[in-house]
Symmetry: C2
Subunit: 434 residues, 2 copies
């Protein structure tokens, strides 16, 4: 077996055997296959695809490229959620404590922001002292004792994905359904979970801009999970405009704390509940969505979700007083408001542009090595369909450096479109794949 | 401009601008673009192609990646010939002296054998003392004084091709029409020639096994030449069975010497004449093919072509006595004959298999670093359409090592097919592209 033979086969539209895929991923991870051969393979896969069987083995091989977690001694059912990423997508931070408060274990491993979307780790680190670096034994201990953890990916988990992702990033092979889905699923399946709910975002601020592609991605990921004997379902949710009001780090965390107190924007709240319902049903603690909804609502009214979040903050060295006093979160030193230039209806509130503006402000990363400023951010006051008058604020911007504010404002100017007629209302939940 | 942008465009079926292609090739040659990005680009080009305009700039950029030759002080018209490679394809060795004897300058830069096809340099080096390493100033001097040279590619000419070819070889991107044609044409155009005749082989022993692909390759190469203002035409010639009798190194050189004396197998002689006719017409020393044929025949009957070859051998330190005494060429120590297992007509004499058998004998290279044994070889006695009786020799094999002979014989056993009826006769010249 040589890499060239496999390259020729995939190039010509053929399929690779289970053994060939395992050998390729293992050899690449062991530095026995050079980047220049793997990048040609990635391009061939981008253009010619992988069959369902090939993809399942590809994801499995990635999953087994390093350590995997073993939570078999934890009696609770382990359920996780993954979002393909959007703007203002802070849902995990409220969702995980709500679900954990219902008796499921949530071993949440999150990432950092890159590109126009934020990352859960960056948002959590806005809480003074909060430590997202959690080693495997502490991760295990926290999951067992608290029922949830919020940490980053450890270095030894799925090393093949780290290497493949870095290579895809520089070879134009990122937006490929088989490569995205195997990357996501290998990492999630390495967490030893029983069930997984996927939030596949669709729209201007999402990775997948059209529904058909998003559905294909969702089906592909659900397929990989099914072949791995893990319960997986996906919701397709709207990402044309940001979710909720806050886009940033400290302000998104603040919005999540408000959600845990029952006081958050309706769109963010609704998507959080829908994802939570599916997690409880897949996790076997609720018979159906209605029962799950009632249970989730009870975690808010009883305060049990907020208490769960407090436990996590304390365990991970954060300052729990932020839950009572949001002003303890980093605050931007300066603020401006962007005013509506005319009367009318908001026909577009462009998620990607607002996300990019947030990055320009300093709230995200232009390059991997950039530091994130947790204090700056955008509050989106006018969402699609709303009636607005000239001079009313479209958004409030918390900023630190003038040059960064200038760059952000140039983008924000084009983020809203105001028309004479209200736009067609669009659903928040676009579909589901089981 | 980033490589990723170019990769994404080519991946999605778009086209690259002239400037982008020049930048990519220049940066790659200067080690500023890594192999792993270029290999992804090669795979994208393999699968999505290059337009005619892109290809012309791609080939030009390769051509300008290093030194180019300048023969403007040599008053003769410079004409070269290139073959896409076959088995028993020794034609250059007789053709170049014939054409040079007609008053054209032939700056022939040849390659070595790799895979199942032989290389002109290896065959020439069967002549005791013959030196194929010729530096640029000597190359120039020989071309000016003798009207021909037979050397290898110098290191400084088209370095982009050397690097790209090595990368294609290990990434499954060799058999691509735009990549083959730009590789061939950049090297030939760097020779500062006025005209070029391409011998595009079609059939079982050729790179292109079907006529349609071969025609596309020929048209593509002629297109590149035309855009470069160089006169280029291509003949499509048959390569289902070996050309002539000899397959090896010393024996092929011997057959060329016989051709220069008017005594060679009809198929090799005919293709040599046809290529020579086109070179003389394109080079402007003959008005039409008939006149060119007469001139070429005269170089044989007058002995002027043989004299020209003698001049070259002497200038390049070879022993010219081989022209009178073929036994001065390396001789295989042992011989066997492969006998026909039955009566009948030869319906197949499989060029690729015979070529591979020749490599197994030691006459070619399994890996680039292998040494070639010039003495061993195969003499093909039975060609397609011939009537044969059981026990008659199909071939004579000159060998040195038993293990190598065994490997070769196993392949040769399957190289001939004998049937009851004669096969349809096939033309030697399949077509032409201008």
């Amino acid at each position: 077996m040589t890499v060239v033979e496999l390259l020729e086969r995939k190039r010509d539209g053929g399929t690779l055997s289970d053994e060939e895929i395992r050998w390729l991923i293992t050899s690449y991870t062991a530095d026995e296959v050079p980047d220049y051969q793997m990048s040609a393979m990635l391009m061939a896969i981008f253009l010619n695809g992988l069959t369902g069987d090939e993809l399942a083995v590809w994801a499995e091989s990635m999953l087994h490229s390093g350590d995997t977690l073993d939570f078999s001694d934890i009696p609770m059912t382990k359920v996780d959620k993954h979002s393909t990423g959007g703007v203002g997508d802070k849902l995990s931070i409220a969702l995980a404590p709500m679900v954990a408060a219902c008796g499921l274990a949530v071993p949440m491993m999150s990432g950092r922001g890159l590109g126009h979307t934020g990352g859960t780790l960056d948002k959590l680190e806005a809480i003074p002292g909060f430590r997202t670096q959690v080693d495997p034994s502490e991760f295990h201990h926290l999951l067992k004792t608290i029922g949830m953890v919020m940490g980053g990916q450890t270095e030894t988990l799925v090393p093949a994905d780290r290497r493949l992702y870095a290579l895809r990033d520089v070879t134009g092979t990122v937006p490929s359904v088989p490569l995205i889905s195997s990357s996501i699923m290998s990492k999630k399946l390495a967490e030893d979970i029983d069930a997984l709910v996927l939030d596949v975002k669709v729209g201007k601020g999402a990775f997948m801009q059209d529904e058909e592609q998003a559905r294909l991605l969702a089906e592909t990921m659900v397929g990989i999970g099914t072949r791995h004997d893990t319960k997986v379902m996906a919701l397709l949710t709207a990402m044309d405009e940001p979710l909720g009001t806050a886009v940033g780090n400290a302000n998104e965390t603040a919005e999540c704390i408000e959600m845990l107190k029952g006081d958050a924007p309706p769109d963010a709240t609704e998507v959080t509940y829908r994802l939570g319902e599916e997690m409880l049903v897949l996790g076997g603690v609720a018979a159906d969505n209605a029962e799950a909804r009632t249970m989730l609502e009870a975690t808010i009214t009883s305060g049990s979700a907020l208490e769960k979040f407090e436990e996590v903050i304390v365990a991970q060295d954060g300052d729990p007083r932020v839950l009572e006093d949001l002003s303890l979160l980093p605050q931007a030193p300066e603020f401006v408001e962007l005013e509506a230039p005319r009367d009318g209806y908001i026909t577009e509130c462009h998620a990607r542009r607002i996300g990019v503006a947030g990055v320009q402000l300093g709230g995200g990363r232009l390059r991997k090595e950039d530091e994130v400023d947790p204090a700056v951010g955008i509050w989106v006051f006018a969402k699609e369909g709303e009636r607005i008058e000239r001079g009313q604020p479209l958004a409030r911007i918390g900023w630190r450096e003038g040059a960064k504010l200038g760059a952000a404002m140039e983008i924000l100017e084009d983020a809203w479109t105001i028309g004479d007629e209200p736009p067609e209302p669009k659903p928040l939940i676009i579909g589901e794949v089981r």
